[in-house]
């Protein structure tokens, strides 16, 4: 998405800041990558955390994923958008990720509480986007709506776009928890009674450490990742615990203002 923005405004600079909602449960490799990347391309980075909730002890183990996401991602995002006075925000969500996202607009209207009303979306003919909002309301814009996971990796390959090293396979300590493979080399990620083992694995999607599983993989280069994708039998968000806490859980989160 950053590359698309660079292209769109070339030879000018990207005229808007970048916002990261940091739950403090993100992968350290990702944070390191974020800071270095933003420095290199010279954009303004705003990092927002719902510190109040963290101070009160919000974490996924204690609250469950639903409440935790609600506070650390959704609430934090809505607060950050309000504080910055932003009436539009770009996001990288794609329609092929999840079935309620397949219904999402490219320009998705949110009311003044940041809520999505899937039954009352603005029609979106051609590329004539209706981006008018009243004060306090906002638009989420998803330029990658019609891309697939494969499209994204092909683009990363052809454009030589840097990515977080966690996407490449290497031998890492992991524990198996339920249906997930959890990376064991991060603080607090191993629960009492769990015994980490070494396995060649990589991340297919990057959420919060406790809620994002790795996959067994030997794909250590972009061509290997792309070949692996072509052979996949399972979807990318399968390893996101938060999508599976109940039927339609992504739709419910989005209704409340989740990206």
């Amino acid at each position: 998405m950053v590359r698309l923005a660079q292209k769109a405004f070339y030879p000018g600079r990207i005229p808007f800041p970048f916002l990261h909602i940091d739950t403090t449960y993100k992968f350290p490799e990702m944070i390191e990558f974020r800071d270095q990347f933003c420095r290199e391309i010279g954009v303004e980075l705003i990092v927002h955390t719902n510190q109040r909730a963290i101070d009160q002890g919000a974490n996924p183990h204690r609250l469950g994923t639903q409440a935790c996401c609600g506070l650390l991602k959704t609430r934090a995002l809505l607060d950050a958008l309000e504080q910055g006075g932003f009436d539009a925000a770009f996001g990288g969500a794609r329609r092929d990720e999840e079935k309620s996202r397949a219904k999402e607009r490219i320009f998705s209207f949110r009311d003044k509480f940041g809520q999505w009303d899937p039954r009352n979306q603005r029609p979106e003919p051609w590329n004539l986007y209706n981006c008018r909002v009243h004060r306090g309301e906002s638009i989420r814009v998803f330029p990658l709506s019609n891309w697939t996971e494969l499209d994204v990796w092909l683009y990363i390959y052809t454009e030589e776009i840097p990515v977080v090293p966690l996407y490449f396979a290497k031998s890492r300590p992991v524990v198996t928890r339920g249906r997930s493979l959890v990376l064991a080399d991060h603080i607090d990620s191993v629960l009492p009674g769990e015994e980490p083992i070494l396995a060649s694995c990589r991340m297919r999607s990057l959420g919060c450490v406790p809620c994002t599983g790795a996959i067994y993989s030997d794909a250590a280069t972009l061509p290997e990742i792309i070949r692996e994708l072509l052979s996949f039998q399972r979807s990318e968000r399968e390893n996101r615990v938060i999508d599976h806490d109940q039927d339609g859980s992504m739709e419910l989160k989005k209704r409340e203002g989740y990206f």
Binding site: Q6, K7, A8, F9, Y10, P11, G12, R13, F33, Q36, F37, R95, D96, E98, K99, S100, R101, A102, K103, P118, R119, Q121, R122, P123, E124, P125, W126, N127, L128, N130, R132, V133, H134, S145, N146, T148, L150, L154, Y157, T158, E160, P162, V163, V164, P165, Y167, F168, A220, T221, L222, P223, I226, F232, Q233, R234, S235, E238, D247, G248, E251
Partner: protein, 572 residues
């Protein structure tokens, strides 16, 4: 950083192959029980585009494992309300690819209540799959679906006769439906229509050829989707470049970013800037990757012009000879999208290319009965209605007929109070007088329009007033006294002929008062619209009746508002 590359050259070939695969966007339309979601599920399942963990969610409880236990509709109905009610409410987009092509499916709801959602899905599609239940044959709904597809300019149509298993795979039944549909669809002018007998539930003729219909020698549905000729009928003659954004950099670069939606652009080309009509040249063209000498649509790029001009978002660079129409008056077919019906007295916002302008619907010419394809007189459009209207905008739009150029022929109407998208519109062309418009291109002589305006102290304009009214006399005097070059034309004859005369006066920089009989008012306005006359003021009968003094002053205010004449000073 994490760039890993260094792949074998054959991998690059492979990537190139995948990336350059042709993309076909299509939409599916069918009634509630025609099996549309089942068909899409079948296409995805048989072409292996469904992941195992997604299949788990599609298993019907209580069925033994195996294909029959899969509820394909669960895959496409992404909203809880849809799964609960077992119907599709909103458009869902699905993606799959085969070794030959990539596909984007817009799964659109079939019920009349969701006509607007279908129009939305159809707007970006180049092919429509119309599903018909083999038992029920061509219903009113099938006709409506085909009509909407044609309205949105979809040029390829597949009529998939589904549930053939329930009509004993009968060739006769299939032929009956084909004949019925063809009879009805003839006036819709769809470029090509293909009929395929299928069973989505069992997979016959969807991806795999059916052994139960040996009499059918046409392609399977997927076979057709993979091979139908879609090499786009791109419009390469009429260059249109709507300006989205002005890009400036610290080192003095000033360029205009936007999409080239039609036509070819080369450095050094003469282009006309709208609305100013100034003709200049393309100096350079830039993309992130390279500087271009030549650009073909569709591409987004940044151009610089040979002269420093006042160009911003909403302006358009166009071919100086093959220019679009420039007018505040626009004829369009609308699909009404909101619960709140069309209100002739309300103001709307029109979004067209990169412009948003205020507008009013002057009149509804007819409403389409989507089931019979008959035009019905109406002055109203309600939710899901399709009708033809005349819009009067506060500023000129630069447009082509939708059929000719969808990018410059489409618009949406926004309700400025609720901000809802009230309607989508396809601009229609006026057939009569088409020749007139093209033969009256603006002559570009040594003296530029701005130079004339500078000497006159005002821009040219045409004011249309009912003949013999005292207003004509009063207005000419008033404008003359304000220092304007003004003249009145009172000729009688074909409006197109008189327009020619008026156009010449206009080109000379004059403000022309055109006195016409009331009866030919519409013709005059249409002709002016065709000729691309920018500042055209028609004095409404109601205004004229308020007395010539007030009416004349109100015309002057109108001219000031449009920037034709400078604002009156205190001594005027």
């Amino acid at each position: 950083m994490g760039v890993a590359s260094g792949a074998a050259p054959d991998f690059d070939d492979f990537v190139h192959q995948v990336v350059s695969k042709e993309l076909l966007r299509f939409f599916t339309a069918g009634n509630v029980d025609d099996g549309k979601s089942t068909l899409i599920g079948r296409l995805l399942y048989d072409s292996q585009a469904i992941y195992e963990d997604q299949l788990v969610n599609m298993r019907r409880p209580g069925f033994p494992a195996g294909e029959s236990a899969i509820d394909f509709a669960f895959l496409t109905d992404g909203l809880r309300a849809e799964r609960e009610q077992g119907i599709t409410i909103d458009v869902a987009y699905r993606f799959f690819s085969t070794p030959k092509r990539q596909f984007i499916i817009a799964d659109t709801p079939g019920h009349e209540q969701y006509t607007r959602n279908m129009a939305t899905g159809a707007s970006t599609a180049s092919l429509a799959i119309i599903l018909i239940d083999g038992r029920n044959g061509v219903l009113l709904q099938s006709r409506r679906h085909a009509f909407i597809a044609s309205l949105l300019g979809v040029s390829h149509m597949v009529v998939a006769v589904n549930k053939m298993d329930l009509v004993d795979f009968s060739e006769r039944r299939f032929d009956e439906i084909r004949t019925d549909f063809s009879k009805f669809a003839a006036p819709l002018q769809i470029k090509d229509t293909c009929f395929i007998p299928i069973s989505a539930l069992h997979g016959d003729n969807v991806v795999h050829r059916s052994e139960r219909m040996p009499w059918f020698d046409g392609p399977t549905l997927l076979g057709y989707l993979e091979s139908v000729h879609i090499a786009s009928d791109r419009n390469l003659a009429e260059m249109r470049f709507p300006v989205q954004y002005v890009i400036r950099t610290n080192d003095g670069f000033r360029g205009y970013a936007g999409p080239l939606v039609s036509g070819i652009l080369q450095t050094g080309d003469e282009v006309m800037v709208l609305p100013s009509r100034i003709v200049t040249r393309i100096q350079s063209m830039h993309t992130y990757e390279e500087e271009l000498e030549r650009a073909l649509p569709p591409i987004a790029l940044t151009v610089t012009l040979a002269e420093e001009l006042d160009v911003g978002r909403g302006a358009m660079l166009v071919h100086p000879v093959h220019a679009p129409r420039v007018s505040r008056v626009v004829d369009a077919r609308l699909v009404w999208m909101t619960e709140r019906p069309l209100d002739n007295n309300a103001s709307y916002l029109v979004k067209h290319t990169t412009q948003i302008v205020g507008a009013r619907v002057r009149d509804v010419r007819y409403r389409m009965n989507v089931n019979t394809l008959e035009k019905e007189p109406s002055n109203q459009l309600a939710l899901n209605d399709i009708g033809a209207v005349t819009l009067v905008c506060h500023k000129s739009l630069f447009y082509d007929a939708y059929k000719r150029n969808p990018a410059t022929g489409s618009l949406i109407l926004i309700d400025p109070i609720t901000n809802e998208t009230a309607a989508v519109g396809m601009i229609t062309g006026i057939q009569t007088g088409e020749v007139l418009a093209t033969t009256m291109g603006t002559r570009t002589g040594p003296v530029k329009e701005q130079e004339r305006s500078a000497r006159c102290g005002h821009k040219p304009a045409i004011i249309c007033v009912r003949d013999n009214s005292p207003l004509v006399q009063r207005l000419e005097r008033l404008l003359f006294d304000r220092g304007c070059f003004v003249h009145t034309v009172e000729e009688v004859g074909e409006p197109a002929e008189i327009l020619r005369l008026v156009k010449i006066l206009n080109a000379a920089g004059l403000i022309t008062i055109w006195s016409t009989p009331e009866s030919s008012r519409d013709q005059v306005e249409a002709a002016a619209q065709l000729a691309g006359i920018e500042s055209f003021i028609a004095v409404e009968e109601a205004d004229a009746r308020r007395g010539e003094e007030e009416a004349a002053r109100s015309v002057c205010v109108g001219l000031e508002d449009q920037g034709v004449i400078p604002p009156a000073t205190a001594t005027d």
